[in-house]
């Protein structure tokens, strides 16, 4: 398989998953905001931080008040093409990447991705208002999952498929660490300090929902949502496909189907140990940010190592 094609497959699955996760995150938080009493302030700023878009947003909204407005944030994260990681930008990148490798994937895949991109770019603005927002979000989530289903079901699980798996796993692990960080830092700011505990549980519930993990959490943990348990589930659960550990183990399994590269195994082993050996109780006490940062750096190194090993080897 050509390195260029492999790299395009890898990025295609990353962008597809990124678009889906971004849509999901915005959807859950739009819902959460509706549930909160007036005494509790919902801050949109942490969403920008979670998705690493705060600096770009500030650049474009210099005159805005310190408290960022819902509409500005939602538009920026979903539809703004000036934000390279917005949902629409991710869809566009996925589509453009797919264009040059159309010959290796079934044609209906291209039609679905192209159709989704065209629909969002034509109807996005119209469906941004709260009343229609869930239609927009659900459509992107559903279409992304349809495409994932086509890939798993209709595409040969050859070497190219392994790159799709790698892209999906790395993107998901990255997004999950971002959300764990957000769960620990606080989207919700009650005015009275004594209400913090109650709303913290609510906040973790929304994080779980953003990762489609709420029901799986309940089945697995059989307790009401607590910060320690939620954090442990998202970081270390061996069976939930969006947990950090699951994603990294998936990378490990995928690598056994590919030409061996020892530098990759080293990068992976360290990051996997960080995630699976962490003391979650202590993490809740100290806040998960420092560890999530380290894991994200590890994922970045893994991404680089994949590039060195397979895309830029010659």
């Amino acid at each position: 398989m050509l390195s260029r094609v492999a790299e395009s497959l890898y990025w295609f699955s990353r962008y597809l998953r990124r678009a889906e996760n971004t849509a999901r995150l915005l959807g859950v938080n739009s819902q959460l905001q509706l549930d909160l009493p007036r005494s509790v302030r919902f801050a949109w700023q942490p969403l920008l931080d979670t998705l690493g878009a705060a600096a770009a947003f500030r650049e474009l909204h210099k005159d805005a008040a310190t408290v960022v407005a819902e509409n500005d944030v939602v538009r920026f994260l979903l539809l703004d093409e000036r934000n390279p990681s917005s949902m629409l930008s991710s869809l566009k990148s996925a589509r453009d990447g797919l264009r040059s490798i159309r010959d290796v994937l079934p044609p209906e895949l291209w039609e679905r991705v192209n159709g989704m991109f065209l629909w969002v770019s034509e109807n996005g603005e119209r469906t941004l208002a709260r009343r229609y927002r869930m239609d927009l979000i659900n459509r992107v989530v559903d279409d992304s999952l349809t495409v994932s289903g086509m890939l798993i079901t209709n595409v040969s699980h050859d070497i190219g498929f392994q790159f799709l798996r790698l892209g999906t796993a790395l993107e998901q692990a990255d997004m999950t660490t971002r959300l764990i960080d957000a769960g620990g830092s606080g989207l919700i700011r009650p005015r009275a300090a004594e209400e913090l505990d109650a709303y913290q549980a609510m906040q973790w519930m929304s994080v779980l929902r953003s990762l489609a993990a709420y029901q799986m959490y309940r089945r697995h943990v059989r307790q009401r949502v607590s910060p320690t348990q939620a954090l442990q589930f998202l970081l270390q659960n061996a069976e939930f496909p969006r947990s950090v550990r699951y994603c990294l183990v998936s990378v490990q399994n995928t690598l056994t189907h590919m030409p061996a590269r020892s530098a990759l195994d080293d990068a992976l082993r360290g990051t996997l140990a960080l995630a699976s050996e962490a003391d979650t109780r202590a993490l809740v006490e100290s806040g998960p940010r420092a560890l999530m940062d380290r894991i994200q750096i590890g994922l970045g190194e893994l991404h680089e190592a994949i590039g060195e090993a397979y895309f830029r080897a010659t």
Partner: protein, 481 residues
């Protein structure tokens, strides 16, 4: 469909001047007559839909987001009797054989120049002559492995060669896809008429390429080199690579190492490439050898080719014979190299480089088609009878300034065939591009791509200028009984 009102101003491919169909077209014409207008319109719609679903597109530059367009397809096929086709096929073999001998001679001993059959001065000014290719002996002695020759029929029914595309001829994928669409639309006719198949082409092309491998005995690694998704023929590149099961590569996927071998960058590490079907123009092929700014090509590729470590199809420099001035010498080449008379006549040509011809062209510019020597796609030409006095004058000046770069041909009354319009069948001008593959032997496609001017009266059939396509049937009357 009613044929009663159908008229053509010239030779028609389906209907004779007495209103009766040609024998090979009789079944088709009768069948079409039995269909209602509505039925036919539905079939045209089905054909358009099939083309879109199958993704038959070509790319139009600078149309913003809508990069892919479908090639207009007319459902009424163009029919040629097999008996006539045999002769055309023989003419094409002869022609392409002589052209390959000519290219080899020009980059070798230049006997044809020494024997004063071909003037040296024409070579000196040829923009497609590549000094870098002098002395190279490509495998099997073939330079133009894939040739697309354009044939046109004049009002008296004579089939002429109009030009030979020896650089990177395109359109063959439309020939194959047009047949697939026609089979969906007229399955009944394929049962009752002996229409020869066309879908052998990818296998034949694969064999042609595989025969060039510098490592015979080992399974050859073959790649199609494309300029990328913005090229107008990208659909064809994808289609051919897929149907031959070879890699579709871009310049950045390849590199030439110190051992002068060409490699693909793969996830398993470098993999040696034996044969490259390149769809990138000579000048962009290798920044080390040609245009230093090219990002489409591969540095060192010509070096690897000269060293015999990789085969290129078509060979660099093959375009020296793809020149409308050199074209005029093809009958002489056939005589010189093969000792035969040309089976397919050339469209008569006047070379502005010679005084006698130039005087004739300047005096008769209103009746002639004037073409620059090295343009393709119908760009930069003058159709005398359709142009005004100011344009005539402008071309007189262009010719005087650079006579070598221009040639002229009489304006042919290009033959027509009916296309389906809202008001029934209507005559449109067309040409035919068969594809010829050269290796040890020579293969000619069964028929070729029929290109049709969709605008009434227009003589320009190029897809980049609004032309469309038809399926081309070679019908064997002896096989029908």
């Amino acid at each position: 469909m009613k044929w009663e009102g159908y008229r053509s101003s010239t030779y028609d491919e389906l209907i004779r001047s007495d209103g009766q169909p040609w024998p090979a077209a009789r079944k088709l014409v009768d069948y079409l007559a039995s269909l209602s207008d509505r039925d036919l319109a539905e079939r045209q719609l089905a054909a358009d839909l099939a083309a879109r679903v199958m993704g038959i597109t070509f790319t139009v530059y600078s149309e913003g987001r809508n990069v892919d367009r479908t090639l207009p397809f007319d459902v009424i096929p163009r029919v040629i009797a097999r008996s006539e086709w045999r002769r055309t096929e023989a003419g094409l073999r002869q022609r392409v054989h002589a052209l390959n001998l000519f290219i080899g001679d020009i980059y070798g001993e230049q006997k044809i120049i020494k024997d004063r059959v071909f003037p040296r001065s024409l070579l000196k000014d040829s923009v497609n002559f590549r000094p870098q290719c002098v002395g190279v002996k490509p495998p099997l002695g073939v330079w133009a492995h894939i040739c697309g020759s354009d044939l046109v029929r004049d009002g008296d029914g004579t089939l002429y060669a109009l030009e030979d595309n020896l650089r990177i001829p395109s359109g063959v994928s439309y020939m194959i896809q047009n047949r697939a669409v026609a089979k969906r639309v007229f399955p009944e006719l394929f049962e009752t008429t002996a229409i020869l198949p066309v879908d052998d082409y990818p296998a034949q092309l694969y064999d042609t390429l595989a025969a060039l491998s510098p490592r015979p005995g080992e399974p050859p690694v073959i790649a199609l080199l494309t300029p990328g998704i913005y090229n107008s023929a990208y659909f064809e590149h994808c289609y051919l690579a897929q149907s031959m099961g070879i890699e579709l590569v871009e310049g950045s996927d390849l590199f030439v190492d110190d051992d002068d071998c060409c490699y693909m960058r793969t996830v398993h590490g470098p993999q040696r490439v034996d044969v490259i079907y390149r769809r990138v123009d000579d000048l962009f092929l290798d920044p080390e050898c040609f245009n230093p700014d090219s990002t489409l090509g591969v540095r060192g590729l010509v070096r690897a080719w000269r060293a015999g470590k990789v085969a290129l199809a078509n060979a660099p420099g093959a375009g020296v014979a793809d020149d409308k001035v050199v074209f005029a010498f093809v009958p002489k080449m056939i005589k010189y190299y093969l000792g035969e008379e040309a089976i397919l006549p050339n469209v008569p040509s006047y070379l502005c480089a010679t005084k006698r011809d130039r005087d004739y062209v300047l005096a008769n510019i209103g009746q002639l088609v004037v073409k620059p020597a090295n343009e393709s796609g119908g760009y930069g030409m003058l159709i005398g009878p359709r142009a005004n006095k100011r344009q005539h004058e402008q071309f007189r000046k262009l010719i005087a300034a650079n006579p070598r770069n221009y040639m002229a041909q009489p304006t042919l009354a290009l033959s027509t065939a009916p296309i389906l319009t809202e008001r029934g069948p209507s005559a449109r001008h067309l040409d035919l591009r068969p594809f010829v593959l050269s290796r040890g032997d020579i293969y000619v496609t069964t028929g070729g791509l029929t290109r049709v001017a969709m605008t009434k009266g227009s003589l320009v059939v190029n897809s980049s200028q609004g032309g469309g396509a038809k399926d081309t049937w070679i019908v064997d009357l002896e096989d029908e009984g």
